[in-house]
Symmetry: C2
Subunit: 353 residues, 2 copies
Amino acid sequence: MSNRIGELKAKLNQSNIDGMIVTNPVSVRYLTGLTAEGTLLITKQENVFITDGRYIEEVNSRLTINDGIICYDYNDLNEEDDLNFFADCEKVGFEEKYVTYVDYSKFLVKYRIKELVEASKFIEKQRMVKDEDEIACIEKACNITDSCFLHLLDFIKVGMTEKEIVAEIVYFFLKNGADGEAFDTIVATGPNSSKPHAIPTDRKILPGDPILIDFGAKYRGYCADMTRTIFAGQPSEEDAKLYEFLLAVQERARMKIKDGASGMEIAKGVETELQARGYDLIHGLGHGVGIEVHEKPILSHKVNWDLQENNVVTCEPGIYIPGRIGIRIEDTVLVKKLESRSLTKSNKNLLTI
Amino acid sequence: MSNRIGELKAKLNQSNIDGMIVTNPVSVRYLTGLTAEGTLLITKQENVFITDGRYIEEVNSRLTINDGIICYDYNDLNEEDDLNFFADCEKVGFEEKYVTYVDYSKFLVKYRIKELVEASKFIEKQRMVKDEDEIACIEKACNITDSCFLHLLDFIKVGMTEKEIVAEIVYFFLKNGADGEAFDTIVATGPNSSKPHAIPTDRKILPGDPILIDFGAKYRGYCADMTRTIFAGQPSEEDAKLYEFLLAVQERARMKIKDGASGMEIAKGVETELQARGYDLIHGLGHGVGIEVHEKPILSHKVNWDLQENNVVTCEPGIYIPGRIGIRIEDTVLVKKLESRSLTKSNKNLLTI
């Protein structure tokens, strides 16, 4: 784990940054493995984790000498201690995309740093390329999600409510080794499916309904993200054709994902295909997945970014016809040198319950 | 709902603030009822909610003319539109405790506001005093939590794991009308109970174990927060005495909660009682509960704050003996003029399963 701090330090040094204040809990977890609330200070001399009485016992039981992190209770630190941490540093980085305006103002007073510089990108870039441990966790999260989908195909019946299905999903995750949901599960049925971020309701499934399920387990802090749209009985011919069209679009886009490919070009390709049929790509094509369910890189027709080996991203085109139907098909995908590998492996053919 | 915006506007005007940029999703939900991602601009002329294609359909279906909010897709706004929103304003507020450093920098360019002023406190103060609708939601969240506790007394058995109990709690919440958990449920058994923020594990309950359960349902966006510590069979005489002592401390503190009481004094009272027996109050005594499970006001021996009628706060002293046992007893409490009313009503006597 301490290797990640070492790698970050090396990158910071290349930019003449002498230290960093890490406050985003996601970054702290990534760099240290700790889930406790606190601040990680990467200084010239040492790495320091400052927490409070609620976490001291847990942190001390987790950190070993190999982590190279000293843990303090912030109640035991005085003003002088705070001033000393960065006393020999010219430039110190902070996470400008996470730190609030008020905390930024506090840092200036507390640590009296000569130059406080924006440094979110260093951790973001490092997190984008997943290591073996991370890929194993995401893969396991995807496996649990796949098992859950299989279970749902058997479980979901006409007459059930969206909320009942959400309850079953969360219960399945927790009973099958997951930490829980990676994000608030979406189950949107019938016309509700046309809202990309629908909140589950007490609506009961009717025959013929599309059932859009956007869900993912979290495993050891890492997320899966998958969407499947199934139908309550045979859909209309029109809806079936729409489904087959979107599936082909999704699969073509997924096949283009590999090291060096332009996320923007892939998304533009999807946009063009959808527009040719009169639809629009109303959200991005995909996003990175890791400790956060939405992280860098973004796959969008608006963002110029080339994919790299060991990025993990979603590929999730959708078609939404307000008030009638929404279809989205999404996989979590591992970027490799010459191809992509889908980590979610659930059946994507048109399925009915 | 629009009344809350009106009240905020009046308070801002009293401080010569002409408008406000509201970006914290919790504030947006509080002021508008909307759960969609987006930015609320309170300007001299109008109230504007700016969102994107994923949410437009939902937002338009929720807002009525009475809400007095105009919704835009940010893709439909150009630079000039952004500049116009606050063109006639001198001072505009922003949420300095939520807005990141990078977003603050963007606001300066985007809206070219003469004076951007810290205004988190206006919404915080307003949110602290709950209205009828809010109290009804919190009460319902507490009722579901109480029902769940009753169910757990029957459900929990020696040999069960902490994670299994968490799964049952979440499932119960979702099956009984809650939105879900108000926060990550803590089930900490045996020596794990001494970590105030323990993460549930696969540890199996052994006879004699303390079982600390810190949990709460969320209902229509509002949280409940309750902790009960029960025992797997008869605890040792020492542990039973410890429990009875803490229960008396908790109940005495809870009785002091009322309009005008000093949160600091109540917390100091608890600290003194604990210290007289050789223990410490290692976390605050309580915190506000509402849309967020942790919000203002804070009840702590370190924070000087007087309670007000219709605050909703927790009262949650705990005793932690590292590696051996932790006991915490917590209620969610409504502050009234002459007394407090516990909204969580589960039995607090020493209970065994």
